[in-house]
């Protein structure tokens, strides 16, 4: 089992979710985050004072999948979240020691 963490542009969320579902992924968890990177933030002006807001709104998808599925899931995300412009985001893959479904107590890949 691996956890795939993808930080993407918010308006890409729905497409990515659909595609992952088609791939057989049964669940995922989404967090609103602020990203800092090569993509410039924006300027805000209030009563003459300018603030440069360097953080850009992003969405973080966390999805734990069986090892067999990792590569295809990553490829799917890359394909759908890509616009080709700076700020498209990153994917990080980390090992997961154990997974448990709270409702049933199932563990391992069966818990996903």
């Amino acid at each position: 089992m691996k956890k795939i963490e993808a930080i993407i542009k918010p308006f890409k969320l729905d497409e990515v979710k659909e595609a992952l579902t088609e791939l057989g992924v049964q669940g995922m968890t989404v967090t609103e985050v602020k990203g800092f990177g090569r993509q410039k933030g924006h300027k805000e002006v209030y009563r003459g004072a300018e603030y440069v807001v360097e953080f850009v709104p992003k969405v973080k998808i966390e999805v734990v999948v069986a090892d067999a599925l990792v590569q295809r899931a990553v490829d799917t995300i890359v394909r759908l979240a890509k616009t080709g412009t700076i700020g498209d985001g990153k994917i990080f893959v980390t090992p997961i020691g154990e997974a448990i479904r709270i409702r049933t107590g199932e563990t391992g890949e069966g818990a996903l």
Binding site: E44, V45, Y46, R47, G48, A49, E50, Y51, V53
Partner: protein, 462 residues
């Protein structure tokens, strides 16, 4: 700790003071209150010209003044409360809103007990009103011909109350996000009594020395706006900058609230200016029209100037410009025509915008630009009254420079200077005294945590 004890005792003190004041004045006065006109006002006109026509209450005028009074109340809360509340950071939203709200409560009581009589009671040498009307003794349903001959005296009193309420509330923008709540209360009690009431007397009361000088101030350019601006300057200097000023982002946390507040200010200001005719008719209408026109022109001007200067027209800019226009037209509203009001609005929009820009360079932290908007806007309005006033609009007024009377401008300049100097100095002293007694500023930890949790144990949003 120590400061906690001090605060507690202060709270007690204030409470006790207010309570003590009541029986002192006594309920006995209620009997003495002039009974409301027995004759239903509406019938009055039916009996024509019986001897010397005692002043009777006009139902239309009274309806307009009561409506106006309610409108001016709305300006303070929720108007100003939200205008300011939306502009601060989330953690100070409630604390900021509370300033306006509690001032509304506090000054309402003060005005009934001693504020009104100090301001409008029978004149003592041009400087202050006598104590004859303490606790509204003798202020009843009969008109007071000195101030408003066709409405109950109490209607004039409570209309004026709302001006006394909003003025200190305006000041709170200067020390937003760092003022201790107990200090605020003490400050308001002192400032209302020692600064507002006297100043209102000088400018508006029969016999007041600035009024006698011939200064024109239809609805409060000096008494309300310059005075809050000058007090704000003193406050910003005495209390010092917010932590993080110049480095952290102080972006407004909720601009829709601010626009809501600004719009309610605009709406309520019709009561402020057109209500200042203390009657319903041509003068009120004229004040209404120029108020709206100047406001619109000022909002557009601020917006366009900022657009040219910064590259984008901002919503906060348009709202701020509208408030600047409302401020500037206030003293002139009963004396100028619609085309003049456009010029006054344009001047206000441009001047106040640059005043807010300049602030950044002068180094004091007038958090919500009370100096830039009310101080500068009020000053421009008072001077503009000396330029654009015309007897063709109000025969009881005077002509300004552009209508052939340069003398009026000089009088206006004098009135402006008097107000700035008196209010700045008096406010400075009061703040130093309050600081010595209870401390003006919240602790560093509370400032970081925000006033909402620190001072009120509440948070605005959950």
């Amino acid at each position: 700790m120590g400061s906690h004890t001090v605060m507690r005792s202060l709270v007690g003190l204030t409470a006790v003071l207010v309570l003590l004041a009541i029986p002192f004045i006594g309920m006995a006065q209620e009997d003495g209150a002039a009974p409301p006109a027995e004759v239903p006002a509406a019938e009055a006109p039916a009996e024509p010209a019986a001897a010397a026509p005692a002043p009777t209450v006009d139902t239309g005028d009274t309806a307009w003044v009561l409506t106006s009074t309610a409108l001016v109340l709305l300006m303070t809360a929720p108007g100003l409360a939200l205008f300011y509340g939306g502009m601060v950071r989330k953690k100070n939203a409630l604390g900021t809103i509370m300033h306006s709200f509690v001032i509304l409560c506090l000054v309402s009581v003060i005005w009934v007990l001693w504020g009104y009589t100090l301001a409008f009671g029978p004149d003592k040498g041009g400087w202050i009103g006598g104590l004859d009307w303490l606790g509204l003794k003798g202020v009843g349903g009969e008109p007071n011909a000195d101030y408003a001959g066709t409405i109950p005296h109490q209607a004039f009193m409570i209309f004026q109350m709302m001006f006394a309420v909003i003025t200190p509330a305006l000041i709170t923008g200067a020390f937003a996000e760092r003022m201790k709540f107990s200090a605020l209360l003490l400050f308001v009690v002192l400032w209302s009594t020692l600064v507002y009431s006297p100043l209102a007397h000088w400018v508006w009361a029969v016999g007041g020395w600035v009024r006698t000088m011939g200064a024109l101030d239809f609805a409060g350019g000096t008494v309300v706006h310059i005075s809050s601006g000058a007090a704000a300057l003193a406050a910003a200097i005495v209390i010092g900058r917010r932590r993080g000023y110049g480095s952290d982002s102080f972006a407004p946390h909720n601009l829709p609230l601010t626009v809501l507040g600004a719009s309610l200010l605009w709406f309520g200001w019709f009561g402020f200016n057109a209500g200042s005719a203390v009657a319903s008719g041509a003068l009120a209408t004229s004040a209404f029209v120029v108020t709206n026109t100047a406001t619109a022109a000022a909002a557009l001007t601020w917006m366009f100037v900022e657009w040219g200067y910064r590259g984008k027209p901002t919503v906060l800019g348009a709202a701020s410009g509208a408030v600047a226009g409302l401020v500037a037209i206030t003293p002139a509203s009963g004396f100028v025509g619609p085309i003049s009001s456009i010029w006054i609005g344009i001047g206000a929009g441009a001047l106040c915008y640059f005043a807010c820009i300049v602030k950044g360079k002068l180094g004091y932290d007038d958090a919500l630009d009370v100096v830039g908007v009310h101080g500068i806007g009020g000053t421009w309005g008072a001077l503009a009254t000396g330029l654009f006033a015309s007897k063709a609009i109000n025969s009881a007024g005077a002509d300004g420079l552009f209508f052939g009377n340069p003398g009026q401008l000089l009088i206006q300049i004098k009135a402006v200077l008097i107000t700035w100097v008196f209010v700045f100095v008096a406010t400075y002293i009061i703040l130093k005294v309050v600081d010595a007694l209870v401390g003006l500023r919240v602790t560093e930890e509370e400032e970081k945590m925000g006033l909402d949790l620190g001072q009120h144990h509440e948070s605005a949003y959950n």
